[in-house]
Amino acid sequence: MTEELTPPRRRFLALGASLAGAVVACRKAPAPSESGAHMRGYGERSPHEKSVRVVRELTKSLGTGSSRTPLGELHGIITPSALHFERHHSGVPALDPAAHRLLVDGLVERPLTFSLDDLKRFPSASRVCFIECGGNSIGEPGANLPDVQKSHGLLSCSEWTGVPLSIVLKEAGLKPEATWMIAEGADAGRMSRSIPVSKALDDAFLAYAQNGEALRPEQGYPLRLLLPGWEGNTNVKWLHRLQLVDQPAMSAKETANYTDLMPDGKAQQFTFVMEARSVITRPSGGQKLAGPGFHEITGLAWSGYGKIARVEVSTDAGQTWADAELQAPVLSKAAVRFRYPWRWDGKETVIACRCTDETGYLQPTRDEFIAVRGLNSGYHYNGIKPWRVNADGTVTHA
C-alpha cells in the first residue's frame, strides 16, 4: 500500500506520474499499448469480480451487526480474508500494534504482559480451521432463508498462525485453582467471554496472522483468540487480557446472548462447540442452472467435534442418499469441500446434503432439531438445508 512505500520512492512515483501525464498531453491519439498492466505492491482482484459480504446492522449504532460471506460464489475451503464474515458488538477498533499489550494475570505465578514482538518469538503454529458465529442461521428453523449467504454466511475458514496458548500460559505459570480464563478484547465495548482452562490448554492459540498475512482489522488485528471448533464469539478479537480465575464471569455475551433458550424456558449455557453441519453452496438459492445435463453439486461441511467423516447428497428430495467425494485435505475443525456429480433431467426436484463427523454425530433434519430445541433457541442451528431446483433452472429455498 502507498503508506508503506518509503518517502523517496513515493516522490519518485509522483514524479513519474506527472511526467507520464505531460507526455500523454503532448502526443496525438497514441495507439493504445497492448502490453499488460504494471506490477503493484499489494494486489487487488480483477475488477470483473464482484463478490462481496452483505452487511446487516442490528441496531442504529453502527458496528453492532454482521457481514456475511458469499459462500455460493467461493471455491475450495479457504475464505479470502477480505470476505471473512464479521460480527461485532461495538465496531472495529483501530489498534496500534506497537502499543498493543496482552496482559496475562489473575491466578498465575507470574503475571506478564506481552508485546506482539514477544508473542512472535515463541514457537509458532499454523492451523486451518473454520470460525462460525454461534448465531449463524438464526431464524432459519422458522423461516427458510433464500440463499446460502443469508442462511450460512456467518461461516468462514482460514489458515491461522500464532502461538499455542498452552505455551504462553506455561510462561506465566498456571496456579492449580485456575479453572477459567476471562478473555477480553480491546474493542470499544471490551467484549469478554469466560473460557474453561481445559480448552485453553488443549488446542487454543493466539493468532496474529490469517492466510499468510497479519490479521485483518475486522478479524481482531493485531491479536485474537483462536478456539478451534468453538462458536465465533469465544474467539475474542483484539485480545488484550487473559485473566485466570476460578469461576466464569457470567458476562453479558455468555448469559444474555449465545445461550440456547429451550422450549421449557431454560437456556443451555456455555454451548461452545459448533456441531457438525453441511450445506450445498452450488447450486443454491438465487442461482440458476443453465439447462439439463451435467452439474456438479458442491458445498462445505464442518464440525467443531473433529473431522468430517462423510457427506451424503440427495437429488430426489431425500428419498435416496449417495456419498459425496470429500476433497483432501479433510482437516479436524476445518471446512471440508465435497463434490457430487449430477445429471439434471430438467425436472423440478429438491437437493440436499447431510454429514456425519468422526465422532459419529449425525447432522439432524430441521424437524429433528425443532423437536428438541424448539423454535426459539436461536443459536447453533445446524439442520439439513434443502434447495428446490425448479424446472426453469432457478434454485430457491425448499
Binding site: 441496531t59 442504529k60 449504532s61 458488538h89 461495538s90 496482559l103 496475562v104 494475570d105 505465578e109 507470574r110 503475571p111 506478564l112 504482559t113 506481552f114 514477544d118 518469538r121 506455561k170 510462561e171 506465566a172 505459570g173 476471562i182 477480553e184 470499544a188 465495548g189 471490551r190 467484549m191 469478554s192 488484550h240 487480557r241 485473566q243 480465575v245 469461576q247 464471569a249 457470567m250 458476562s251 453479558a252 448469559t255 444474555a256 445461550t259 429451550m262 421449557d264 424456558g265 431454560k266 437456556a267 443451555q268 449455557q269 456455555f270 454451548t271 461452545f272 462447540v273 456441531e275 449425525l362 439432524p364 432439531f369 423437536a371 428438541v372 430445541r373 423454535l375 426459539n376 447453533h380
Partner: protein, 177 residues
C-alpha cells in the same frame, strides 16, 4: 561477570528462570488496574461505590434515554429494550431483557460499566454505574427507588431468571438415518 552475578541474584531473574522462554514483562499493578473490569456474580471485582434508582434516573435521562427510550422500552429495530418480557420465555415470542432473562445483577453492572453509554463507554464513575444500574433494575420492578446499591447489596439482588440456565447438554439431538 560481576553484574551478571548480581542479576542472577535478583528475584526477577530467578523468576524468569522458571519461565521456559523468558519472554514478556512482569505485569505491574498498574497494568491490571488499567484493564480491571471483570465483575463476578459473587461481587468479586466490584469497586466500592453506591447509588440509588432515584439518583440513577437523572443519569439515565441524560446518558441513556436517547437510545433506550424514557422508560427503557427501547426503540424497535433500533435499540434494545431494557425492560419487559418477564414470564415470556416459554411463549411463542419470548422477549429477552435485563429483567426477563439476565441471571445476575452483577452482569448488568459489569456490562453497563464496560460498554455503555454505547458511544462513550467507561465514562461512568463507579457511583454513576451503581445508580444507573439501580434505575434499570427499578424499571424492571426489581429494586425500590431509594434502595442503595453498592458492592455488597448489588450481588444480592435476586433476578427473576436467576435459575434459568442449565449447562450445555449437547449433543442433545439424536438424529435417525
Amino acid at each position: 561477570m560481576l553484574s551478571w552475578l548480581l542479576l542472577l541474584c535478583s528475584a526477577g531473574v530467578i523468576a524468569a528462570q522458571s519461565q521456559p522462554y523468558g519472554f514478556g514483562q512482569p505485569a505491574t499493578a498498574a497494568d491490571t488496574a488499567q484493564k480491571d473490569l471483570t465483575v463476578f456474580p459473587n461481587g468479586k471485582g466490584l469497586p466500592s461505590g453506591k447509588g440509588t434508582a432515584d439518583q440513577g434516573a437523572t443519569i439515565y435521562k441524560e446518558k441513556c434515554a436517547e437510545c433506550h427510550n424514557e422508560k427503557g422500552e427501547g426503540r424497535p429495530g433500533q435499540y434494545p429494550a431494557l425492560v419487559g418480557g418477564i414470564g415470556s420465555l416459554t411463549s411463542a415470542k419470548p422477549l429477552k431483557t435485563v429483567g426477563s432473562f439476565w441471571p445476575h445483577a452483577t452482569t448488568v453492572w459489569d456490562y453497563i460499566r464496560r460498554a455503555m453509554p454505547f458511544d462513550h463507554p467507561r465514562s461512568l464513575s463507579a457511583d454513576e454505574a451503581y445508580a444507573v444500574t439501580a434505575f434499570v433494575l427499578h424499571l424492571n420492578g426489581l429494586v425500590e427507588r431509594t434502595q442503595e446499591l453498592n458492592e455488597k447489596t448489588l450481588p444480592a439482588v435476586k433476578m427473576p431468571n436467576r435459575d434459568g440456565f442449565v449447562p450445555d447438554r449437547r449433543p442433545d439431538i439424536k438424529s435417525k438415518r
